[in-house]
């Protein structure tokens, strides 16, 4: 029990991994009684996974760390609202995912505004430099398609197919019924497939027309 035994040695840097034997429920109980070190164990237990999940949405290490820290802080402040009969993990991820989605919505709104205010700041493409779109990797392609999906489908797809949460866990994280999550998951996969196929067909068409243009130029 990290919260009870050997605290004095751990206090200096607090980067010692949490003791595996203690359940989340026990640590939550201790944290609710004011033992912030017990909460520290929960942080060490979940921080890496939480940052990784947030990173799937924001694609920015610093932002992901900040959001994860904010999620832990909110979880600590709302520990009295936590239902001890439920699991701590999904509850924490719910806070983290909600914060992340709020962050993305704010960023999107700012982006729309910037669209009108930053007109003319882009420099025209330099013909000497190769088109960077050709070097876009698979990850970016997939991310671009995911970004085209509505938020409710994207969240489910990221949590299930990139983070491997079960549908029941996703239901707890997103605070929806499992049947709703399964329906959204099926819809999300079908929409992703449709968008991906369209994108690939578009890319093929563009490639063929580029080749035709190259042939015309050489003639």
């Amino acid at each position: 029990m990290a919260a009870i035994m050997g605290r004095e040695q751990v206090r200096t840097t607090r980067v010692v991994p949490p003791v595996a034997g203690v359940s989340d429920a026990r640590l939550v109980e201790l944290a609710r009684r004011g033992d912030s070190e017990a909460f520290g164990d929960l942080v060490l237990r979940y921080e890496r996974r939480l940052i990784r999940v947030i990173l799937r949405f924001v694609h920015d290490q610093e932002a992901a760390r900040d959001l994860a820290q904010e999620a832990f802080l909110r979880a600590y402040q709302r520990l009295d609202q936590f239902d001890p009969s439920r699991r701590f993990g999904p509850w924490l991820f719910r806070i983290g995912v909600n914060l992340t989605l709020d962050h993305l919505r704010r960023r999107k709104r700012r982006g729309r505004w910037a669209l009108f205010t930053d007109i003319g700041k882009d420099t025209p493409p330099d013909p000497q430099i190769a088109d960077p779109r050709r070097s876009i990797d698979l990850g970016q392609e997939v991310r671009a398609v995911l970004d085209e999906l509505p938020e409710k489908y994207r969240s489910v797809l990221v949590l299930r197919d990139l983070e491997n949460f079960s549908t029941s866990e996703i239901a707890a994280i997103l605070d929806r019924k499992e049947a709703t999550i399964r329906w959204r998951l099926a819809e999300a996969r079908n929409r992703f497939e449709e968008l991906w196929s369209r994108r690939q067909n578009g890319a093929t068409t563009a490639l063929i027309s580029t080749r035709d243009a190259d042939v015309d130029d050489s003639e």
């Binding site: 997939v142 197919d161 996969r189």
Partner: protein
Amino acid sequence: MSEFNERSKRQIALLAGDDLEGVSAEEARRSIEACPKCRGHWTRVRGCLDLMERAGKEDPEPADGASLWPALEARLSRPVVLRAERFNGWVPALSMAAACVALMIAGQLETLPPQDSLDGGFPVGGSAAASMVSLARNPVEIPEHSDRPSAEERTPDPFLDQQAVRGLLFPYEDPVRVSPFGYDPR
């Protein structure tokens, strides 16, 4: 289910990610075997899931930086301002707005001309309030009539005085008549 429709598409999408069990899974498997369109859809969705899996592995992992805990611990040690203790600026703002609205309405009523009255001279609506306001500001002097006793002769009638005051305050309830021109002690 051997035809390709929305339902079969959804079931196939779930089956592709091993998210379908029992009878539904069997049904979806049969349709994949029997229906070429279903098989095509299953192959495409399965391909997309493989793609996402590969892309997921390419995504950057969290940087091996310091734990969040030290910074978090410092923030936790700060006193938390509870919701109830926070200053709520809405209450005074809304009170002020309500007071302004009430004043505006009173001002409007004062400028309204006397309207039709009920029961031969009993003012209604804005005219009632307007007459009350003007009455309060400019007390009407009741002309002395020859057939009425003078002020000295008159016996004080506390009930009538109370009625008059009440009439000023509650014009709709009181039997004391109030006309647009002032108090009428009939």
